[in-house]
């Protein structure tokens, strides 16, 4: 029984980061209308910024969250201004490829600078854990979950309560309508894409502590974020969090209970995307 609850806890804690990454992607898909295949690479950049700040100034990753978020916001805004903005009306395929290209460039630039060996972070609290009723929570893992929850709460507060946030939701619901009532769509896109990148960067800082920073760490997160937003329905911001829970838990349970589960757990995500997409397509009509 303890195993069951421990697995539940592991899945739950993991889903915090997933939700963070996926909300970023959902913003980009829902508001800007761009499926950003480089989203995971933005996360990777965030992870390396945290690594560089620790290596150069001994800056704790918790503090690095703030500069990383700012740098990634600026970077996202730059990417939007210089490239995405010009393909907004191009076929989906071209947009997808453009972001693919950006991802390839980022991965290989990181490879040039840091090489392919994963860089782990040495922080004091990394190894310690809390024991509670026979369950164990890694301090870093638990902290990341709390932080992720707080950031997401902030994000949803901004989306639901502020003028900019509401305007973004309006764009996500109806692009033409939003333009007609006089919203500055271009500025909203810029902000949404910047926030989307910043969320990826913040998640990257957490990944650098929990896992490691590596040029290849991004792709798998892009794919998992896709799994989540596809389950939630492309562009549906609210459903991202429950979808992240479902996926985090599914992965954890497969890992624990299926024989040789470590290998299968990777496929759980993809099986879920595939089934949920196909299921939806056959139910609608």
């Amino acid at each position: 029984m303890t195993t069951f609850f421990q697995t539940f806890l592991n899945g739950l804690l993991q889903s915090g980061i997933y939700a963070l990454v996926a909300s970023g992607l959902a913003l980009s898909v829902g508001v800007v209308g761009i499926v950003n295949f480089a989203h995971g690479e933005f996360l990777m950049v965030g992870a390396f910024i945290a690594y560089a700040l620790l290596a150069a100034f001994g800056l704790d990753p918790i503090i690095s969250l703030i500069p990383t978020a700012i740098i990634l916001f600026a970077f996202g805004a730059l990417v939007y201004r210089s490239s995405l903005r010009h393909v907004l009306k191009a076929p989906e395929l071209n947009q997808m490829l453009l972001t693919f290209g950006i991802g390839i460039v980022l991965t290989n630039m990181a490879l040039q600078i840091y090489g392919s060996t994963p860089r782990t972070m040495n922080v004091a609290y990394q190894g310690s854990s809390l024991q509670f009723a026979g369950l164990s929570i890694g301090l870093a893992r638990g902290g990341a979950f709390v932080l992720a929850a707080a950031i997401l709460a902030g994000l949803y507060w901004v989306l639901g309560r502020t003028r900019t946030g509401k305007a973004m939701q309006a764009v996500a619901q109806n692009r033409v309508g939003a333009t007609l009532i006089g919203l500055e769509v271009d500025r909203l896109y810029l902000i949404a894409f910047g926030v989307s990148s910043a969320l990826a960067g913040v998640a990257g800082v957490m990944v650098s502590v929990l896992l490691y920073a590596s040029p290849y760490v991004g792709l798998v997160f892009t794919l998992k974020a896709f799994a989540i937003i596809v389950m939630a329905g492309l562009g549906n911001l609210r459903a991202v969090i429950p979808a992240a829970f479902v996926l985090g838990l599914a992965e954890a349970y497969v890992q624990t209970y299926v024989p040789d589960g470590g290998g299968w757990a990777e496929a759980v995500f993809f099986a879920l995307i595939f089934v949920s997409l196909v299921w939806r397509s056959w139910r609608i009509r």
Binding site: V35, S83, H86, V87, A90, E92, L93, N94, M96, L97, L98, F100, G101, I102, G103, I104, V105, T107, N108, M109, L111, Q112, L219, L223, F226, A227, V230, L234, D260, G263, W264, E266, A267, F269, F270, A271, I273, F274, L277, V278, S281, W282, I284, R285
Partner: protein, 306 residues
């Protein structure tokens, strides 16, 4: 399509046929290596384009490529004559695509792309977990035609030429109109009496047959496959980058792009062995921003000016 006229086509074919006999001095082996990769990439790219003509933007090419590679490896090891194993690789990939195509029939655009990507990842994991495929340890592949360069080259060229013929036939026949109609609006096509289900599956089967052959072809040349190498997502990416770079919905565009990008890639590898992918990614980004209709679009614009 009109741009590369019949005369051009014939002269290029002659050049391709004579290619192995052009002397390159001490670079011969390097050039031969590139030539074989150009052939396999061109087949991959054109097969993707054929499928894309029905509006199905697939990211599952890696799945059929890997299935082809493993089918060939397992069958050839089991004692099936090589050419039969090679063809069977195509047939098995085509059958698998029939399954995928039927299930994803109703998905559109981005949803279709993501579902096919997921399909490829699931197949990769399954092959990784099975024992008779060697799992993560990989599998030794019998050399295709004993590794003889001339044989391998002409086999690759033959496959590509057959695909070009099929592709050109599709473009000029009723099929081409049906594919275009489906791409531009499935509902309208259905109303006009186009059998959408049949044509979409047909495109899938043709495309995947050739992808399966390419997988077997490359595996039979590299002698060793693992799930990550045979089901590499990079295969799916290359397969769609080339048609877009060259010019979509034509026979010439994807093939032309395969030649240019492959040679460029190898040259970049020589010049900057560790940074060539940065340049590759940058070319991709720039060509999308500035060449939305690909190389063919650029050539046509150039010709229109004269």
């Amino acid at each position: 399509m009109n741009f590369v006229s019949r005369g051009w086509g014939w002269s290029l074919l002659l050049l391709a046929l004579a290619f192995p006999f052009i002397p390159f001095g001490d670079r011969t082996q390097f050039v031969q290596q590139i030539a074989v990769f150009v052939l396999s990439s061109a087949t991959l790219a054109l097969s993707w384009d054929v499928l894309a003509r029905t509006g199905q933007l697939s990211l599952a090419h890696a799945a059929f490529y890997g299935l082809g590679a493993y089918s060939y490896a397992l069958l050839a090891t089991a004692g099936v004559p090589q050419i039969l194993a090679f063809l069977a690789a195509g047939v098995i990939a085509a059958l698998a695509s029939l399954l995928l195509g039927a299930v994803t029939m109703r998905l559109q655009g981005m949803y279709f792309a993501i579902a096919t990507l997921a399909f490829a990842e699931v197949i990769k994991t399954i092959v990784n977990q099975l024992s008779f495929t060697g799992g993560p340890q990989g599998y030794l592949v019998p050399a295709l035609l004993g590794g003889d360069f001339l044989g391998v080259y002409y086999l690759g060229l033959g496959v590509l030429v057959v695909l070009i013929l099929i592709s050109s036939f599709i473009l000029r026949s009723k099929l081409g109109f049906a594919f275009t109609a489906i791409r531009q609006g499935e509902l309208v096509a259905r109303v006009l009496g186009v059998d959408v289900t049949r044509y979409k599956l047909l495109a899938f089967v043709i495309s995947s047959f050739f992808v399966g052959l390419t997988g077997a072809f490359v595996a039979g040349k590299t002698f060793y496959i693992t799930p990550p190498s045979a089901f590499d997502t990079g295969v799916s990416v290359v397969a769609l980058v080339m048609p877009i770079f060259g010019g979509l919905y034509s026979s010439a565009g994807p093939v032309l792009a395969a030649v240019i990008l492959r040679v460029l890639e190898e040259v970049l590898k020589l010049v900057a062995p560790s940074a060539y992918l940065i340049a590759y990614g940058a070319i991709l980004v720039l060509s999308i921003l500035y060449l939305p209709k690909g190389i063919l679009g650029l050539l046509e614009r150039f010709r229109g000016r004269k």
